[in-house]
């Protein structure tokens, strides 16, 4: 086993464990912390693929900004522990088989596409350098990029309007 494959399995296990713990934890703060673990593990995976810029931005944006906001809101609302309910019938009879089927489908697709050999994929050259990435974002795809930021701006304005309606 090569070193990079070993690191891949460690990070992948961390991400999966974090995701499972996110669902199983009963306290919202613990769930949020598990999600941070998933984010950081994903950033490690990006780094392993050679996409350094994306990895750093993943941590800065998701780990540093969005999740801080989540934790902040949970702390501010002082949310307590969730109450456990019994599985609903829909979840038992439809949810579990569907989940298993989806997982099986994805696994089958992966095994078939890589023809049995499992390895970490190298990123395409376009993602490796910050320079090429910024050229793509601000030159080739500048209109879709600006449109996306405009959409986010509209969403922010909408949130402010909704929040101020009560006054």
């Amino acid at each position: 086993m090569t070193a990079s494959l070993f690191i891949f399995f460690v990070l992948a296990a961390l991400a999966v464990l974090g995701a499972v713990s996110l669902i199983l934890q009963r306290h919202p703060i613990h769930s949020a912390l598990s999600l941070i673990v998933v984010m950081v593990a994903l950033a490690g995976l990006y780094l392993l693929m050679g996409a350094e810029f994306v990895a750093a931005v993943q941590i800065i944006v998701y780990g540093g900004a969005i999740m801080v906001l989540f934790v902040f809101v949970i702390m501010l609302l002082n949310a307590g522990e969730e109450e456990r309910t019994n599985f609903s019938k829909l979840a038992t009879y439809a949810g579990i088989p569907l989940a298993v089927a989806t997982a099986g489908l994805i696994a089958a697709a992966i095994v078939r596409s890589s023809s049995g050999t499992l390895s970490t994929a190298g990123a395409s050259g376009a993602l490796t350098s910050t320079r090429t990435l910024s050229m793509l974002l601000f030159k080739d795809f500048v209109y879709p990029f600006e449109l996306t930021s405009f959409l986010i701006l509209v969403a922010i304005l909408g949130a402010i309007v909704l929040a101020q309606r009560e006054n």
Binding site: L33, E52, A56, I60, G63, A65, V68, M75, T130
Partner: protein, 411 residues
């Protein structure tokens, strides 16, 4: 044996470097607390610590022993996992952020493994640093939340809000430097500030440059330093631990080594920020004098020899073992080092970079302490409106201005 070393040098050399750096940083942290107490005491016309050892020099040691042996009570109904993990997160991130900082220009080869002064030389070191700083808020927020104490919770909330607000200004304030350097690597950012014989004028804070692309980043530096102080929760932005309102803020319920971990983390972040300000705006390890002024190479000796002699004569006055024997010993070593630098020019050349780097970092650390002794604390609404309504627009304006000047100079 040597075969083993050559084969595993890529693993052994970084581990040794990490061990040395952590040891140095923890020692510096300890003596930074001593320096802080001494400087603030003198600002306020007091003596500061002076009982434990000459000039209170053994005070950090006594504090360390106290931290280790103090009782560590667990408050009632805390969230145990978060309560225990919070100081570890804070300290771990503070120490990790030092890993990407280059401390000097040298490259050297150990057992066939090429390495440099500093632990990791990655090409996105600035982004890595910001990523680690961005995660730093969790330690404080969790500590405040897990302690099950209203003062701690308020401190944690304040801290998260403050860190989110000032992180934007912090990141935007360095964009000007990035535009000039065209690189995320801290090592390349320093190298780019070496503009032939310009010396101090070539640094980003002044911004002359050979190819004419430079532009003064003084606005960027002011924004960066203010935002960085807020990120490290220091006076005048130490609202998360404002003792007049919140007892001790997020670390109210922490005692013993866990409290010490928050403390060490705070001082380590101070060091990181000082290193970063030095690298980004003040030329890192570059000398402020033009390269042709070779006589300035003797400056380290000129400082070391008188200081060493003073330590010797100061130590002799005491009657304790530490004063009589250790201080003159240290003084003799410093004097000998200063003399050796004059006698062996290659040795002198090798330490120039490190000398200037440490001198600049020390200056910033002193400014930190100076401000703590001088400035009052912000009110919370002032803090928020200052961050969002003043610091953020100014740093964005700096980005626009710098890009415009670079574009104009290029044509």
């Amino acid at each position: 044996m040597s075969d083993f070393l050559t084969h595993y040098a890529f693993l052994i050399v970084p581990i040794v470097k990490i061990a040395i750096l952590v040891f140095i940083v923890l020692t510096v942290d300890a003596y930074l607390t001593w320096l802080e107490r001494k400087v603030i005491a003198h600002i306020q016309s007091r003596w500061g610590p002076h009982r434990v050892g000459p000039h209170g020099l053994l005070q950090p040691l006594a504090d360390g022993v106290k931290f280790i042996f103090k009782e560590d009570p667990l408050p009632a109904s805390v969230d145990k996992a978060a309560y225990f993990i919070a100081p570890f997160i804070t300290l771990m991130l503070a120490l990790t952020s030092l890993a990407v900082i280059p401390f000097g220009p040298q490259h050297f080869t150990v057992f066939g493994y090429e390495t440099h002064v500093g632990i990791a030389d990655v090409n996105i070191s600035l982004l890595v640093l910001f990523a680690i700083t961005a995660l730093g808020v969790y330690g404080v927020a969790l500590a405040g939340w897990a302690s099950n104490n209203k003062y701690s919770l308020l401190g944690g909330l304040r801290s998260s809000a403050q860190m989110i607000s000032y992180e934007l200004a912090l990141t935007l304030s360095v964009v000007g430097v990035l535009l000039i350097a065209g690189d995320f690597s801290l090592r390349n950012i320093v190298d780019q500030q070496q503009n032939g014989n310009l010396g101090l004028l070539g640094w980003n804070i002044v911004g002359f440059s050979k190819d004419g692309i430079g532009f003064t980043q003084i606005i960027g530096f002011i924004c960066f330093f203010i935002a960085a102080i807020a990120e490290t929760n220091r006076v005048p932005f130490d609202l998360p631990e404002a003792e007049s309102e919140l007892v001790a803020g997020f670390h109210t319920e922490y005692a013993s080594m866990k409290f010490a971990m928050f403390f060490i983390a705070e001082y380590t972040s101070m060091i990181t920020v000082s290193c970063l300000a030095t690298i980004l705006f003040f030329g890192g390890w570059l000398s402020p004098f033009p390269a042709s002024w070779t006589f300035t190479d003797y400056l380290p000796s000129l400082l070391l020899i008188p200081f060493g002699l003073w330590v010797i004569f100061d130590g002799i006055r005491y009657e304790t073992i530490f004063g009589r024997i250790v201080l003159p010993g240290v003084g003799a070593v410093l004097t000998a080092l200063g003399a050796a630098l004059i006698v062996f020019p290659p040795f002198n050349d090798a330490i120039q970079g490190l000398f200037w780097f440490l001198a600049k970092v020390f200056t910033f650390l002193f400014v930190y302490i100076w401000m703590r002794g001088t400035l009052p604390r912000f009110r919370y609404d002032q803090l928020m409106s200052f961050g969002w309504k003043f610091l953020l627009p100014v740093s964005i304006a700096n980005v626009v201005l710098t890009s415009a000047v670079i574009l104009w100079r290029m044509h």
